[in-house]
Amino acid sequence: MALNLSPNFNEPGKRYFHAFTPGDDFYEALIDTHRDLNDEQSAMVNAKLVLLLANHVGDIAVLREAMRIARQDT
């Protein structure tokens, strides 16, 4: 499986009438996760998030591709 770089957000059972809604739902949840945290706490939350999601993806080839893209232009 290749790394999916197309829009892919959705929530089971939810009906969307506008293409922008699922991505905006996710982004809001992401920002909310960091609410009231200091920078260090936020960095720790982000690190845990990466680990959790990486395990969920599982496919190390896909993860290597994501890590490569993430490092570009830094």
Binding site: L5, P7, F17, F20, F26, Y27, L30, I31, H34, L37
Partner: protein, 557 residues
């Protein structure tokens, strides 16, 4: 400053109460002759309800203020007879470019949706819209538009309200059965009634400059995140009519609004952005802050709040005037039925219920845009910039870039007026949805669906052949149509054919109606006067229509 626009000055006419006419009681008084108050007044007057409009000023909105009018608002404006002048005077834009620092991240082309009468959005200075509405209002003999009439007190008790109104001739008293409040974000009526409006203030300031470009400039929307000419902030450039461009600079909370408004401060900012060689002149400058908030309920007894008086959003996404115009779309038919005794006043609670739902959706979308455009923490900023960096190459990240979402009408899926589906349908025309448009033919002419439905309840029945007479069905429908709500039966068919006497036919030769409404032979849609779907079935059953009609008007036993 340069002016491309001559402000009309409307004549003050001494009201009948101050001309020896004595105190009068009116069915409806609208306070505020802005775009929303006028839309409400015109719609009511057109449908036969006499209206008095009170406004403390004698001209249109000063400065361009509202700029973007979206498709659904244009459809409502069409119904009140001002859609065409707005579209003729306004400018359509399709290309939007988003920049991050020095580089363009991506661009989009908002091509108009095919087979819809109106485009997704036009840009037009607010004063033009108001001028067209005033012109239309003056054509209506049952619409009494009173300039220089300022409401100084309101006593709302029981079945109506008593107002004290100040004019150049002094103060007079006026009574009304229903009061529609459209006096804007700082609503005087809301304050006089001690009603709260809750939400949050965004700690940021924005500078608006409307500039007249001397040379040709692309007809595009440009949005910058953190540009070199205005580091750390966002900037928006948007075209209006008469070669006027709206430029919106984010300034931050610590900016001094008085200082920032000075031309010697504004002009260098714009020069840095456009490059020195472009010639322009300033037309209008202001500094604003904004709030995202709404009233708990938009209905308070016989006082009905619409537009900014009831709810305010951030400007990102053009949801101010657009949602206010949709408020009037929702309110006016309900108020008319209540006034005529064809529905109980609880129908007006559904105005509040449905428009609070819509306001919450608007608040959510505009707050999300605001949070993306002006991140509030280091982590938010990091995610924002990461999204923008990835957006250049990856479509998933482009979908997350939020510089304002196009204002689209709320799909009222949760409304208590809907009859839930009992049959299976595909597509988006669910109960509560505002109808999609479609190109149709009627009596040999090309027409638009939305120009031919609404203003009253209708049943759209999709048939194979309009000439195929089902006498029993028509007889049953006639009984229903002779009731107080008098729904009209309209046949929709892909085929041309003579319908039985007195029944309208809309021909769907291109098949767009069938496609968008998932219609097959026998499919019936019950449509509200505001062109929202109330119910739908795979076969027409007049008992079911009668029940759905009762539900949609709070007439259920």
């Amino acid at each position: 400053m340069l002016s491309t626009y001559q402000y009309p000055k409307y004549e003050y006419v001494r009201p009948p109460e101050q001309s020896g006419g004595g105190q009068q009681r009116y069915p409806v008084v609208v306070v505020g002759a802005g775009p929303v108050g006028l839309a409400a007044a015109i719609e009511l007057a057109q449908s036969g309800v006499p209206v008095v409009v009170l406004d403390d000023d004698d001209t249109v909105s000063v400065g361009s203020r509202g700029v973007c009018y979206a498709k659904r608002a244009l459809e409502v404006l069409d119904r009140i007879g001002v859609g065409q002048p707005c579209v003729d005077k306004g400018v359509s834009w399709n290309v939007g470019r988003t920049f991050f620092r020095e580089q363009e991240v991506y661009n989009f082309n908002l091509l108009p949706q095919s087979d819809h009468k109106r485009p997704g959005m036009i840009n037009l200075q607010q004063y033009y819209l108001e001028e067209f509405e005033v012109r239309r209002a003056k054509e209506l003999p049952n619409l009494d538009l009173r300039f220089k009439n300022k409401v100084v007190s309101v006593n709302a008790q029981g079945a109506g309200a008593t107002l004290q109104v100040e004019t150049p001739d002094g103060i007079y008293t006026l009574e009304t059965d229903w009061l529609v409040v459209a006096d804007g974000a700082r609503s005087g009526i809301r304050r006089m009634m001690n009603l709260d409006i809750d939400g949050k203030i965004f700690k940021d300031r924005f500078l608006i400059a409307d500039v007249v470009m001397k040379a040709d400039f692309p007809h595009e929307r440009w949005f910058w995140f953190d540009p070199p000419f205005h580091p750390g902030q966002s900037v928006l450039l948007h075209r209006q009519s008469d070669s006027v461009y709206r430029i919106d600079f984010q300034l931050g909370w610590d900016a001094d609004p008085e200082e920032e408004k000075k031309p010697e401060k504004v002009i260098p900012r714009i020069k840095a952005m456009l490059g020195d060689e472009r010639e322009f002149e300033l037309e209008w400058v202001s500094v604003y802050t904004f709030q995202c908030r709404r009233m708990n309920a938009f209905t308070h007894g016989h006082v009905l709040f619409v537009g900014d008086a009831a709810h305010q959003v951030s400007p990102f996404g053009a949801r101010g005037a657009n949602s206010g115009i949709q408020d009037t779309d929702n309110l006016c038919w309900k108020l008319k039925l209540v006034i005529e005794g064809k529905a109980p006043s609880s129908l007006l609670d559904s105005y509040s219920e449905e428009r609070v739902f819509a306001a919450d959706e608007n608040l959510m979308n505009s707050t999300r845009s605001t949070d993306f455009i002006t991140p509030k923490s280091k982590t938010s900023l990091m995610f924002r910039n990461a999204t923008l960096s990835l957006a250049r190459e990856h479509s998933f990240a482009r979908a997350l870039v939020n510089s304002g979402r196009l204002s689209v009408p709320a799909i009222l899926t949760e409304s208590s007026l809907n009859t839930p589906d009992s049959d299976v349908f595909g597509g988006d025309m669910v109960p509560g949805a505002p109808m999609d448009d479609a190109p149709m033919q009627a009596q040999g002419q090309d027409v638009w669906l939305l120009d031919n439905v609404g203003r009253r309840f209708m049943v759209l029945l999709y048939v194979k052949d309009p000439a195929h007479d089902s006498a029993e069905l028509l007889k049953a429908f006639k009984t229903l149509a002779s009731g107080p709500l008098a729904p009209e039966l309209v046949l929709v068919s892909q085929k041309t054919g003579a319908a039985p006497q007195g029944i309208r036919v809309l021909e769907d030769r291109a098949g767009r109606f069938a496609e968008r409404f998932d219609a097959k032979a026998g499919t019936a849609y019950l449509i509200r006067p505001d062109q929202h779907v109330a119910a739908r079935w795979r076969a027409l059953d007049t008992d079911k229509v009668a029940a759905a009609l009762a539900r949609a008007t709070c007439n259920l036993p």
